[in-house]
Subunit: 341 residues, 2 copies
Amino acid sequence: MRLLDACSRVPVDATPVWLMRQAGRYLPEYRAIREKLSFVEMCMRPDIAAEVTLQPLRRFELDAAIIFADILLPLEPMGIGFHFTPEDGPVIEKPIRSARDLEGVHGIDAAADLQYVMDAIRLVRHELGGRAPLIGFSGAPFTLASYIVEGGHSRNYAYVKEFMYDDPVGFGRLMSLISDVVVDYLLAQIAAGAQVVQLFDSWVGWLGPYDYELLVLPHVRYVIDKLKGRGAPVVYFGNGASAMLHLVAKAGSEVIGVDWRIELDRAWEQLDGVAIQGNLDPLTLLGPPKAIEERVADIIRRAGGRPGHIFNLGHGLIPQTPPDNVKYLVDAVHRLSAAPI
Amino acid sequence: MRLLDACSRVPVDATPVWLMRQAGRYLPEYRAIREKLSFVEMCMRPDIAAEVTLQPLRRFELDAAIIFADILLPLEPMGIGFHFTPEDGPVIEKPIRSARDLEGVHGIDAAADLQYVMDAIRLVRHELGGRAPLIGFSGAPFTLASYIVEGGHSRNYAYVKEFMYDDPVGFGRLMSLISDVVVDYLLAQIAAGAQVVQLFDSWVGWLGPYDYELLVLPHVRYVIDKLKGRGAPVVYFGNGASAMLHLVAKAGSEVIGVDWRIELDRAWEQLDGVAIQGNLDPLTLLGPPKAIEERVADIIRRAGGRPGHIFNLGHGLIPQTPPDNVKYLVDAVHRLSAAPI
């Protein structure tokens, strides 16, 4: 399958493409379910999670499915309560702002505690047959830590940074605890059938390179080390980290996800021996086909036919994206990459 | 004066330092005034704007003052009404979302229309004597356009991008109109006494390099060209643009402001024949002196004694910053940069 080949930098007939948040609110068939169930209920019902995972693959020639879940799901079994506001904003009930607040927080047994995710993975694998591979995922340690410390979305990540600066050792304890949870969660997903796993470091771009290298990178490297040789390549996506890709690469993943803030060839020049996933601005999909075509062509030209390119957006699809434009994009990636450069 | 020397890459005895939003809510003497006057009233009263501009220089050994103003002030004389919410969030009354909406929007005569800014500049220059130079500023064309199109702060800049993609020519008309306003506004500030001018491209980091180069960079270059040889060096600061500095440099400013998402030496290696301003994460100032010291030392080490470094934050100070930490930072920059490397 194209995606698995590309992860190992084996040449393929056309560039594989999948899209972050390809299962989501931009699809009317998703909204029809979401009207009846809350977001968390959708995650916790394996039949629904599987259905939603497969919806975009019925419409578009995508080269992968990604399991429908939320990156905060492991928090509940860790002893960290949360809920979503009516606008789908997460709220952590007791944010952790010091090492003292860690009392009562603990590791998980993901196969049991998050069995519904594993069941959904098994269902999707069964449904997919061999049509496309299934991607599992988790939040990366800093991104999970930032939710846990900030208490939800944040404007400037002041609480998590204050914690890091005031008590780097205590912050390290939180990060270590989360890292073990992430490893357990992703190994359980691989055991259930995930063929690739992606670590989403959605908020790491709020850190400067100094803090990233000192306080975050060692934990990401720990997670990726534990996943090596377990049968599923790791994609590590650091949103906002395009100006420190040389550090991101030190985490050791087989594939590096790149946001849309860098030219793909400049990204690739800094990286050695890895596959690259990216990197179209998701907002491009609000434009007309001509605008989409130009920008897809630019990325494919910059990939330059090197094996190991996985086409994706540089961040998630937004809800107001027209589905027709997604179809146009997916087809354009295949058409333009199959043609001789 | 150190700052002016550094702009021309003349060696100095210690690295000059000033801080974006150095006049602001973190200072109790600022809040005392703000309690009595609205934010816009403070901007429009030259005596108050001058006072607030000078407040941080009374407390700290800063190497520059920057005139107190808001980047949206030119909108009103352009025919674009706006106000601030009680939380200081800007609201554009009739956002411009297509070329049609441009009707009734026009250029300005900044010296007359924004005379209060020029009066404040003259007052500050008089008060400062030769103690430190005064920086004038404006929003850069894209950043102003993004406010005008989005209608205020934005989550993902969907409206402005949709406009760009749907009607690049119409968007270009908006950008040209704004660019002429910016030129007029900055020339008036220079005439009134601003010794350096900074262009704030606060939201340009939401654009990918393709869109930046095609639709934004030509306008920035136009503005900077018009300011060349007018007696005040230009600092161009693109927030979030650290992974496309080679494009930012094409705008042609004497000084490039860098956010905190890149190591300063890696930034400098990509830039030729310019001075560099940056690049401490402003949130560092929430940490203890030890954390501040380590991160300042890292930046000064990476500057490597090259002439032309202006120390600054990678974005604005936040309101909860302790003033004592600002003092610690300013003194540390001078102490560490004056010492032999």
